[in-house]
Symmetry: C2
Amino acid sequence: MSCSTSPLFPPRNIAIVGVGLLGGSLGMAIRRQWPDAVVTGVSRSEKNQRISVESGCVTRSVADPLAAAADADLVIICTPVGTVAPLAIEIAKTAGPGVTITDVGSTKAQIVQDVEQDQTAAGRFVGSHPIAGGEKSGPEHSRSDLFNNKTVIVTPTENSDPARLQLIGQFWQAVGAKVVSMSPALHDQRLAGISHATHFTACAVASILQQEEILLAGSGWRDTTRVASGDPQMWSDIAFQNAGPIAEKLRAIAAQITEYAQTIENRDQTQLRQLLNEAKQLRDSYSHRQTPTT
Amino acid sequence: MSCSTSPLFPPRNIAIVGVGLLGGSLGMAIRRQWPDAVVTGVSRSEKNQRISVESGCVTRSVADPLAAAADADLVIICTPVGTVAPLAIEIAKTAGPGVTITDVGSTKAQIVQDVEQDQTAAGRFVGSHPIAGGEKSGPEHSRSDLFNNKTVIVTPTENSDPARLQLIGQFWQAVGAKVVSMSPALHDQRLAGISHATHFTACAVASILQQEEILLAGSGWRDTTRVASGDPQMWSDIAFQNAGPIAEKLRAIAAQITEYAQTIENRDQTQLRQLLNEAKQLRDSYSHRQTPTT
């Protein structure tokens, strides 16, 4: 990303639509960085509105996204992926002409394509995906350092406004993240392999067992299946936003597992050691190169 | 397991053949429990012989398993699974008639079957599998509490000597473990699903990516693929000791992943949520019921 400063930077009046773990942590990180900023949270439930203010995630909280966005110069949509595009289009219509809208969704191609159906929204939106999160959800688990040294993928298109793109890049850097830029389609291809198909594979591994077998589980099974505890609704939404690339990667994983089965049945020691060495090399390259990004 | 006391309990002169993480930790746990016990370690390299004595894993260390076993009343074989049976047979022949032999291998059916080809060894051997370990290998990472609250599966057969079986159960309890008993075949069936096939699936997930894609990995991929860093030689040995059950479980996982792919391609939201709910329920039953056993 460019290091020059966007004329829109820094944002002063920020709306966070959906104050869960990500939205809440983002509010905390913003308020740490810019103590004078107005951060308006949007939560449906009164309970979450109260928690998000009491925990220091936001300066004030409302239930209506359009009310929150009315005076905002930056709106960050942190709702489930299926709801991002319609919200972005509505907000682009009702907020002032200076507004910049982004999101934190784990899929990008469908969201960006849907947003860009609307001319006004297209020029005011830049998609983002912070690769950060945690097992616990809800604003009460928010942490101002959640984005420190995490990777945020920003996904501009030919329709993106250069000043807004620059603002979004600077914004994520200001809350501690490293910014990477790629097309929405490439983002979804990459994430299908590194995250989405990995998730459904972990679910498949958990599914084939009976409960009494799980009593014998050790740390290998515990870690390999950890993400299978994730929210089924959220992951179902992600699946249908990125169906093609995810299905393709799942079939590649199934084929590779079948190759392991065949190799073991054939008692082909040379081939099995080669497969295991390749897997180890790839996994070790991760351990050696970087600390986890979430 | 029975709570009565074996006439052979407690052991006084113990040989540990192969002093890595498991053997070393076992030595420490034994010496914590019975400070006067003689614990003889067997390590091929002079370096590991030195480390295992200096770290307090064993009271003395030698290179020859038969020399170590000569005076032992309990011999625990902690070498790769492919070497356990031949060692057990040799040791049964050369040690005194009072010796009891066990092991810590992750597979049991082939080992026990091979040992029981030999009449003498059959009566002196009881198979064990402590579900414990760690990412770091070598005696220098040994911990006297490695077996605390871990599950140890003991696998008697109709040829097992009752007093020796009782000794082995009491022994594992004395070093902190919970003991479960089942047949070698059932052990291998269960472990194929909960451990072995899980391991090769994690390797398959790691394998389908290019190195540059791994740069975007978050904690989901990190945990799902963690075990792919394991030793290829060790896992190749395990694969061929338990080939049938592992291949069967791998094909079940591949079929389940293919069902996920099909469901996502069909945009079948109801079916996908059902699959994800089932997986979550199984995974959550683990989280709620117990702390990890390794």
